[in-house]
Amino acid sequence: MSLSPVLLAGFVLRPLPPVLLQPALDLAMSLMRRRHSDVFERLDTLENASFLIDPVDLPFCFALRLGPPAPRLSAVGTADDMESPSAALRGPLLVLIRLLEGRMDGDAAFFSRDLAVEGDMEAVLTLRNAVDSGGIDLAEDLLSLFGPLNGPARRALGVAEALFARAERDLETVRAAFVAPVEGRCDTQTARLRDLEDNLADLRTRMPRANVSGTRAAKHGAARL
């Protein structure tokens, strides 16, 4: 959830002013809150906690603030741009994504030093356990945007389409930015990248269908109006 925009960010990795990411981040948060309400229920106890999420191989960080009125995610230039977060999590983008999706065990990532944590550990554990409970699957979650369309998803469609359209080009940027250096060392990461590529290919092939049904749904919606 908190990290899902990391993936989105991967799609738009070319140096962008963080502020331009905000629509995508807002979209990701609303999507996660809708599809994974149980995750947010487990975060209830945290109230006003805030997290700095630092993909060490990206040129910017994320700030996750849980306080009311609703959890909000934003991009910040550097760690110093976020005022006294409750805790900070640092690791390579792929590690963060795999943690988010429950494909990697957080403790194992910590033991191997792939994940570094600082600050309020209770908040970190709560976040980790909540995220891990959720069965988050980014590809599935993003695809849900193109399912039977409801209001928020329809409004978001334009943003998402733009993101997916750039995906192929940006994937190469992702590789160049952080995968290439570790490629030789870590086959599993490259395998995971291939998974990502497959997912994206899959997305691309399904996009037109989704679009068609989206258009149809939009039309039906319009007709009802």
């Binding site: 943690l99 065990d105 033991f111 550990m121 709560t126 356990n129 891990d132 409970s133 959720g134």
Partner: protein, 330 residues
Amino acid sequence: MSRTPLELVCPAGTPGALRAAVDAGADVVYLGFRDETNARNFPGLNFSRPELRDGLAYAHERGCRIYVAVNTFATAGNPGPWHRAVDDAAELGADALILADIGLLDYARRRHPETRRHLSVQASASNPTAIAYYHETFGVQRVVLPRVLTVTEIARLNAQIPVETEVFAFGGMCVMAEGRCALSAYATGRSPNMNGVCSPASHVRYEQGVGGMVSRLGRFTINEFPDGEPAGYPTLCKGRFVTGGCAGYLFEEPTSLDASAVLSELMAAGVRALKIEGRQRGRAYIAEVVAAFRRAVDAAARGDPVPPLGLGGMTEGLRKTTGAYTKTWR
């Protein structure tokens, strides 16, 4: 010759982990409620009543059982949460209760005689007389053995007791006798026995120092990991301390138990079930460890050698040990 496989008892801290364990081949999933009534009372972890109900349905549909751990010691004057945990688990149809507190065992025996009672490792029943007491007084049908016994001692014990035994096979390891350790309470005021936490996250700080990452618990420094060195939990008994002028891991290195090497021996010793530790771990851990032990347990039942499990990446400090099962550990 093929024998009945050891029952594989697997942890779950969330509904996602429960499904992962069931799907990976667990015979049993054990879990706790989201409060201080169980020994993994960690933030954001464990089950609500509706989640237990759904989990029971998911498991039972797939031929898997659920044990509910209510294995801390009830607070004097406030037994309500513990009694409710026992009542709700029994009424929702849990296949067994895992209990440690004598008062609570007595309550469960009186109120829910039909629900199986297992003795938690937290009760530290390490000899036949203690086990017979729990069996005769509270009708306990299985004992989770403390992680202090060698395989030889376990075999001798099994020959003398009228109940099943379950032993730990993998995961985090107390080096102290379970249920008899107040180290965490001494440093943080939060106790495994009373609060269900050990070295709680609320009291842990990690700081990046010049030499590496420093972990602190309360106001005590527990360890310092030079950059690049594998890390462990900030639990007291896995800390680096100074005795006699030398700094080192006096109690235990950051390491995890892995009993796969002695699986056949444990089977021959009459053990009924294997327990995997890690209700606080993620779904990825559960899926991988459970699947590996499924293969191991089935191999052992066929009389085949247990294949290497390849779980090194899941272990604390990226190291493993057969712990107390081998006498030299002591």
